[in-house]
């Protein structure tokens, strides 16, 4: 009991310490004006066409231009239904037992060209996204169409009201609306125009996008939140070389790092060189995982898949590849980095999370039952994307598999080919990274485990799992839903179509003169810059 009390006291103290920078920043009086230089690791792949891409290299630098209906409170680290804040929607209300969602929109919002924002823009955006039969336009690529599969129709009774009619209850739909991937597009400009320019309602107006160099924003004087934004100008500087990026941050040429960019080692080096640098550890909602093609031998055999999962030492991987900058978890990130993940105790009961030597012994036993040993191994080809963060992880996995009787040869696949190859199922086993747009079971399960989903790279399809996914999606009681989600994660790890190896952490960094730049436990949903200010 004493040790419990001690633990509580320690965690409370740590929690207070962790939260203090935010409280301190909020306590100071914000200063209007100034300029901010923000890190960008590559040029915007599809301009500002957020709805046609799934990369943070597009969504993060586009955030200041846009608004959503709702957004995760940009001053809080955690993303959940409790931290939702209105943006273009002043209020919202669930009706008819979570089958109708009504948004009451702000009436004082203007697009950057001065035209008024109305419910037509909301309907336009979501009709295009869900590819409604009467959608007024079509996206070139629509990666998140599945997020809105449950939307049956959208009504606009007047200019400031929108009603979403759902096929079945889906409380977490609001979470999708709050994602950085869900900005509202203007109905009066073609969606294709976002590839070259940005028409938004957001706190900053696009001034210039110099290709391969920078994106410049200026303060939107007509922004609907009075007194915001604080900053006059923003510049996202494209620096492709990592060493140069870090030197630029360290020398003060950049004020803020890029989400997901700072590894533990780099953050420690920068902190050592610049002790006043503010470094915040947050979750990325990006996992390292193994994809196994369950439609092809030998991974159509559950025993082989389980052996792989048992055989990989998660904690060893975290130390060797990420130098401690990741945490073990199942198919959703664990607390405190996420809301829905299986905790440390629960993980111990799952394949691959126990003591490494014991787990390897289990793996070897399974392989022996199939007639394979270290001396007489099963030979497979492991595919991975030909970039360092993938290859490093794959190399570790190959070494682990060797110890349980699987001899894997590495096949590096160019970025251009990787997703197409994985979607086609043109591989045996792969070392993969998966980012989830929001920390919500629906966004993850329907995308990565549902039958027929193009991102279900394992080609795994289990009717029982599908039922469980649908059930949790409709559950309105959060506690009950959490229990269902935990059970579902356990089941998925026991079926092992896509064993999760770890959830990566980010060491988000900025200079102390920058305030209210609060990173969240998901790299995709922050960066609106509305409340950010600086004291120099």
């Amino acid at each position: 009991m004493a040790s419990f009390r001690y633990a509580v006291a320690v965690w409370t103290a740590l929690g207070t310490l962790a939260l203090s920078p935010i409280d301190f920043a909020l306590a100071q009086t914000p200063k209007p004006g100034g300029h901010l230089n923000v890190m960008l690791r590559e040029d915007l792949p599809q301009g500002f066409a957020v709805h046609e891409t799934s990369t943070i290299s597009t969504s993060f630098p586009s955030m200041p231009c846009f608004n959503n209906l709702v957004i995760f409170d940009q001053l809080k680290r955690t993303e959940s239904l409790e931290t939702l804040a209105g943006e273009l929607a002043e209020k919202w209300s669930w009706q008819d037992n979570y089958k109708n969602l009504v948004f009451f929109l702000r009436k004082d919002v203007k697009w950057h060209d001065g035209k008024p924002f109305t419910s037509k823009d909301v309907k336009f955006t979501f009709d295009v996204l869900r590819e409604a039969p009467d959608a007024p336009a079509k996206l070139r690529i629509n990666p998140r169409k599945d997020w809105y599969a449950n939307v049956e129709g959208i009504e606009t009774p007047d200019a400031s009201t929108v009603v979403f009619h759902l096929k079945r209850p889906q409380p977490s739909l609001l979470m999708m609306f709050a994602s950085g991937y869900t900005p509202i597009y203007a109905a009066h400009v073609p969606p294709a125009s976002y590839r070259t320019t940005c028409m938004g309602t957001g706190p900053f107006k696009l001034k210039e996008w110099r290709k391969g160099e920078f994106v410049d924003y200026v303060k939107n004087p007509d922004y609907f939140v009075k007194g915001r934004p604080y900053l006059d100008t923003l510049r996202y500087v494209v620096i492709e070389n990592r060493g140069t990026r870090m030197s630029a941050l360290q020398s003060g040429k950049l004020d803020v790092s890029f989400p997901g960019e700072m590894t533990k080692t780099i953050a420690e080096q920068i902190k050592k060189a610049v002790p006043q640098m503010v470094v915040t550890t947050v979750g990325q909602t990006v996992s390292d995982n193994i994809i196994m093609n369950v439609k092809k031998p030998p991974f159509d055999n559950l025993k082989v898949r389980l052996a792989v999962s048992y055989g990989i030492d998660r904690r060893g991987l975290i130390q060797a590849v990420h130098q401690g900058g990741a945490v073990p978890g199942a198919s959703l990130p664990p607390k405190p980095w996420g809301i829905w993940g299986v905790g440390e105790q629960g993980l111990l009961a799952l394949p691959g999370y126990g003591k490494a030597a014991d787990e390897k012994a289990k793996a070897r036993k399974l392989m022996a039952e199939l007639g394979y040993t270290v001396e007489k191994p099963l030979k497979v080809e492991i595919g991975t994307r030909a970039i360092a963060i993938y290859v490093d992880m794959a190399s570790f996995v190959i070494n682990e598999l060797k110890q349980i009787g699987i001899e894997a040869t590495l096949k590096q696949v160019e970025t251009a080919q990787w997703h197409a190859m994985a979607t086609r199922g043109d591989y045996q086993i792969g070392a993969n990274l998966t980012g989830i747009g929001i920390d919500d079971p629906d966004a993850n399960f329907y995308e990565n485990y549902a039958c027929g989903s193009p991102r279900n790279y394992s080609q795994y399809c289990n009717e029982q799992i599908m039922k469980l996914i649908d059930q949790q999606s409709q559950e309105v009681n959060p506690q009950k839903r959490l229990e269902m989600v935990l059970a579902l994660q356990r089941k998925l790890e026991e079926e092992a179509p896509r064993p999760i190896l770890d959830w990566k952490l980010d060491y988000f960094s900025h200079w102390p003169s920058v305030h209210n730049m609060i990173p969240q436990n998901n790299i995709y949903n922050y960066g609106r810059m509305q409340d950010v200010w600086r004291d120099k």
């Binding site: 070259t196 510049r235 060493g243 360290q250 997703h419 197409a420 086609r424």
Partner: protein
């Protein structure tokens, strides 16, 4: 001379044509295309969307037809539209060339200013301690890749004085001082490497010439050592040096990839690599053709310079 020039221009046109075929075919033989990349950023592939995009970009046509279309458009001055940026290729490419040309020119100036005098000194003071020092320095320059040197310069600056050059391009018209600072370090890093080569070539060429009879004759006639070296020996030794300068300059136009990346300069080479990674065919094709044209014409300029420097070339008519 006119015949010679016409011949060289004819060869240049043929080379450009050959380049156009090679780059066009090679790009399309490489696995993956822009549609794959677009889907990569989307994280999934939808076959019907794929077909629609291929049609939109004309990638559903046979290669020979795509090539003919490209040539036809090039002939009318239409360089195509960037797949990635959805903008005319020329609009994207136009600002890149001045940056690369400036960096290459400044690097060559640094290289010549460093390389020729040190080569001469090294030759004149052959086998002295000064010669050994200069040879070691030139060998070090050849051994050190300029991008590595660039990275070391940046890391050293940030570690020692907490400062690095500007990270976005500053045009000379906007801030001349900052512009010079921005180009000085990469020009030094690249120029040092090129100067090492020039030093070695100058030294060996000069040593060879210094043993010629006419040098002995000049000395016997009582001319001062300075006149002998700079007016007689160097003038005759400079031809191979000019060749090297021409080759180096041409190499730098496309070879500054990593230096431009390390110093974050928006030049041709850095952009070309990105365009290749994106399979942005119109951009790659245009950049390669322009780079090839610059290389061909800089070689031509060197050949013309031979005529100026060496009367025998003029008399021989090539």
């Amino acid at each position: 001379m006119k015949t010679y020039l016409a011949q060289r221009l004819g060869i240049a046109a043929l080379t450009l044509f050959g380049m156009s075929v090679v780059i066009f075919v090679l790009l399309r033989l490489a696995p993956g295309d822009i549609v794959d990349i677009l889907f990569s950023t989307g994280g999934y592939v939808n076959p019907s969307e794929r077909v629609a995009i291929e049609k939109e970009l004309g990638l559903d046509q046979p290669i020979w037809r795509q090539y003919m279309d490209w040539l036809r458009h090039m002939a009318t001055g239409d360089l195509g539209k960037s797949y990635r940026y959805d903008l005319p290729a020329w609009e994207i490419i136009k600002p890149l060339f001045p940056v690369t040309l400036e960096l290459a020119t400044l690097s060559m100036i640094v290289a010549v200013l460093l390389g020729v005098p040190t080569g001469v000194i090294s030759a004149v003071r052959q086998d002295t301690s000064l010669d050994y020092v200069l040879r070691v320095l030139s060998l070090a320059g050849l051994s050190m890749p300029s991008f590595w040197l660039g990275m070391v310069i940046i890391l050293a600056l940030v570690a020692w004085i907490g400062w690095i050059p500007p990270m976005t391009y500053v045009p000379a018209s906007e801030n001349f001082k900052l512009h010079c600072i921005q180009f000085a370090l990469p020009a030094l890093a690249v120029g040092y490497r090129s100067s090492a080569l020039i030093t070695r070539i100058t030294r060996s060429a000069l040593l060879e010439v210094m043993r010629e009879d006419y040098i002995r004759t000049a000395r016997a006639k009582g001319q001062g050592e300075r006149t002998v070296i700079w007016s007689h020996a160097l003038k005759n030794a400079i031809l191979p040096v000019v060749t090297v300068i021409g080759i180096e300059f041409a190499f730098l136009i496309g070879g500054l990839i990593v230096t431009e990346t390390v110093f974050n300069l928006p030049g041709v080479a850095r952009f070309l690599v990105q365009a290749i990674a994106w399979r942005d065919y119109p951009i790659v094709q245009t950049l390669v053709m322009f780079t090839a044209a610059i290389v061909i014409f800089s070689n031509l300029a060197v050949d013309m310079l031979y005529g100026v420097l060496d009367p025998r070339v003029r008399i021989g008519g090539g």
